[in-house]
């Protein structure tokens, strides 16, 4: 099963390689990883999409928590959350397809952010379903290059990730 995990880490050099090394060293799957500074400049937020059975995900979460530079780990499995991804697509733009590309881009509320005599570069943001729908439709027109950010995620409503509780609450195994 796929899980989207938010990891709050100290914004220091070397932390990314600790996290990445943990996944590769223990054979955990990493589908995407997105990282940048958060509201607090001393903290970076990593959004990781991983997959595995319950036992593996439990280990992923615990092992992440065990890293000294990791402040907080949240698995979005049990909370209502929003998640978005951005994709840049460079599409063949011939005379007969230009209109179609622009129409699609508009329908998906994307943007053409770069133009050349033979290509359009389109930016689309959305959840996974929307992005894959767009890509399916645009593919027959000829995609030259594709870059995705991988998703970032946040809890719905007024909930935010609380900072204090790195320590497991004492008895439960999490």
């Amino acid at each position: 099963m796929r899980h989207t995990i938010s990891v709050l880490v100290e914004n220091e050099f070397g932390v990314l390689s600790r996290v990445a090394g943990l996944f590769s060293g223990r054979g955990f799957n990493i589908e995407s990883l997105c990282v940048a500074e958060s509201l607090d400049p001393t903290i970076s937020t990593m959004t990781i999409v991983t997959s595995g059975n319950d036992a593996i995900i439990e280990q992923v979460l615990k092992q992440l928590n065990k890293l000294i530079n990791v402040i907080k780990v949240v698995d979005f499995k049990d909370v209502d959350y929003v998640s978005r991804e951005m994709v840049l697509v460079k599409v063949n733009a011939e005379e007969r397809t230009r209109e179609e590309i622009l129409r699609m881009t508009e329908i998906f509320r994307g943007k053409v952010i770069d133009v050349s005599p033979k290509t359009y570069t389109v930016m689309i943001t959305g959840d996974e379903g929307k992005i894959s729908a767009f890509l399916t439709l645009i593919k027959p027109l000829g995609i030259k290059e594709l870059v995705r950010t991988g998703p970032i995620a946040m809890m719905r409503g007024d909930k935010t990730i609380k900072m204090r509780e790195k320590h497991s609450k004492g008895g439960e195994d999490g």
Partner: protein
């Protein structure tokens, strides 16, 4: 007044009450090396950086304090890696200082440069590269705190040469405050109560305890709780010494070379109380059948150890000593549930006793000198009170089986990583921690050659470690697997070009002895234990003796090959 980075390093060690440093110099250490010339910190200069880290590891295991080593950049640091990985697998608190090329050269493939922080990331609890002298004292403070708190482990601090030369203020922090690191010591009360309820209703309970008993100092609590309720105890390799080896409730070690009684108790139990143990594959055998009739309570300070290999029923995250103490309190207060517990489990006690009687550890006594006999005599002559280190392989397993350890921190062995060449330098470190103790390294003729150069260190600092080489002219454990699983094709394992260990010892200025017959064992060992010199004892043992019982890799624990 401003101090250099090197002086700050020394001041920080003093603040941590560190009086011993295991070290090896190089270009990048020179600022610190020079500053240490006027320091009263004892400096043990080894002959290979792996030896430095193993020695600090042995020092830490024997004393319970943090072991400290310092090596140079590049090859000095990479030579230390095996030592660091060894300590990491066994959760030993070490701080390893590596020196680094100057910061402006980092990343330039400079002479003797290695990205040691990168190389050791998967085998350290944490690591630091000090980029500015103003961070040095805070980092050292944090390094010691992280090494010894929570689940202990090695922490590496990499100090570039310009940082050890730079001037800075020395202000040692009083407290460590790492917002992202808050280990859990106190077990959850509700979980403990649940565990005790389960315990009260169990009829076939067994304690399965590991290195966590030693590192948290929980031996007394374990003994009291086990005695009070008459619960039998088995130890992992790392747990030996945590429960007295000659105690009537002791079943011996479990696992691949565990006793019949211990492995049967795990197989038949209805409740396993795992304390500070991590369900390692050498202990569990086939995981699907490990304690398959039992509920499992698991007490461990590291949440990642819980339900990693085997799903447990009641997890309790916390310090073993703290949790066992609370369990004991419940037993002492609560007459209801535990009033006649011992008599309720009398049948179980009878079963475990019968397994012990029917299938004790044993070996054939005919023919050549048996290594097990040598260990038995070492145990008898030292009354089980020596500090014993081992190398890895048959020597290690026979020691675990036949030396009856009485106290925590008297058995020092590389359990997780299984590092050949560990025992001798670790013995040197233990001897530094306890200059008057009898320290014995039980070695094989293969393993001892992996760090034999440390004989020079032992002689230089007059550290009278006794190395008992069980010389079978084989890499015995691998040979044993070849005998059992590869139709006796002893490829690579025949050590037919070993040196004369007696002469080696003498060449280094140590004492050397040889034992070839059973009737020489006591006489020579008595003499060896009395002398005050580092000593090699070359014991010519039966070349094809094997370690039994043995559970083949991947088989369930009950499928033991007996002698």
């Amino acid at each position: 007044m401003k101090k250099t980075g090197a002086q700050i390093f020394i001041e920080a060690l003093k603040m941590e009450h560190i009086d011993t440093l295991f070290c090896y110099p190089g270009g990048a250490t020179l600022n610190i090396t020079d500053a240490l010339s006027s320091s009263d910190i004892e400096q043990i200069v080894v002959r290979h950086e792996q030896g430095a880290v193993h020695a600090s590891d042995g020092y830490a295991r024997a004393s319970g304090r943090v072991g400290v080593s310092l090596v140079t950049s590049g090859p000095g640091a990479t030579n230390a890696v095996t030592g660091i990985a060894t300590a990491y697998m066994d959760s030993i608190p070490l701080v390893i200082f590596t020196c680094q090329v100057p910061t402006m050269l980092i990343g330039n493939d400079a002479f003797q440069e290695a990205d040691i922080v990168g190389i050791t990331r998967p085998c350290t609890k944490h690591s630091y590269l000090v980029k500015d002298v103003k961070d040095l004292s805070r980092i050292i403070k944090e390094a010691f705190y992280i090494a010894k708190s929570g689940r202990p482990g090695p922490v590496l601090v990499d100090i570039p040469k310009d940082v050890s030369a730079a001037l800075g203020e020395f202000k040692y922090p009083d407290k460590v405050n790492i917002r992202s690191y808050q280990p859990t010591y106190v077990g959850h009360v509700g979980q403990i109560k649940k565990a005790m309820k389960l315990l009260a209703s169990s009829k076939k309970p067994v304690f399965y305890t590991g290195g966590g008993i030693i590192s948290s100092g929980a031996s007394n609590e374990l003994i009291k709780l086990a005695e009070r309720l008459s619960i039998p105890v088995t130890n992992t390799l790392m747990g030996l010494g945590g429960f007295p080896g000659n105690h009537p409730l002791f079943l011996g070690m479990l696992g691949m070379h565990g006793t019949y009684a211990a492995n049967m108790a795990i197989t038949e139990a209805d409740l396993i109380i795992a304390v500070g143990a991590r369900f390692d594959d050498r202990a569990t055998g086939k995981v699907d059948e490990f304690g398959h009739l039992a509920k499992i309570i698991h007490i461990d300070i590291d949440p990642t150890s819980i339900s990693k290999n085997i799903k447990v029923d009641i997890p309790i995250v916390g310090d073993s000593k703290n949790v066992l103490k609370k369990m004991l309190d419940i037993v002492l207060e609560d007459k209801e549930d535990f009033g006649n517990y011992s008599s309720r489990i009398a049948q179980w006690h009878h079963d475990t006793e019968k397994w012990k009687m029917d299938f004790p550890l044993t070996y054939g006594r005919s023919g050549l000198l048996k290594p097990q006999y040598v260990i038995e005599r070492v145990c008898e002559l030292t009354k089980g009170k020596a500090i014993v280190t081992t190398e890895v392989g048959q020597n290690q397993m026979w020691t675990a089986q036949f030396y009856k350890f009485q106290k925590p921190r008297t058995f020092i062995t590389s359990g997780g990583l299984g590092t050949m060449g560990f025992g001798f330098p670790a013995g040197i470190g233990a001897q530094v921690a306890f200059p008057d103790a009898l320290v014995i390294d039980i070695a094989g003729d293969g393993s001892i050659q992996m760090n034999i150069q440390e004989l020079a260190t032992a002689v230089q600092y007059n550290l009278p470690v006794k190395v008992i080489i069980l010389n079978n002219r084989f890499l015995g454990m691998v040979r044993q697997w070849q005998e059992l699983f590869y139709e006796k094709r002893y490829t690579w394992t025949h050590m037919n070009h070993a040196p004369d260990f007696v002469k080696v010892a003498e060449a280094y200025g140590a004492a050397g002895y040889r034992i070839e017959r059973e009737d020489e064992v006591d006489k020579v060992l008595k003499e060896v234990f009395k002398n005050k010199r580092p000593t090699f004892v070359d014991v010519m043992v039966d070349p094809e003796e094997s370690v039994y019982p043995m559970v083949p890799a991947g088989a369930p624990l009950r499928e033991m090959l007996l002698v």
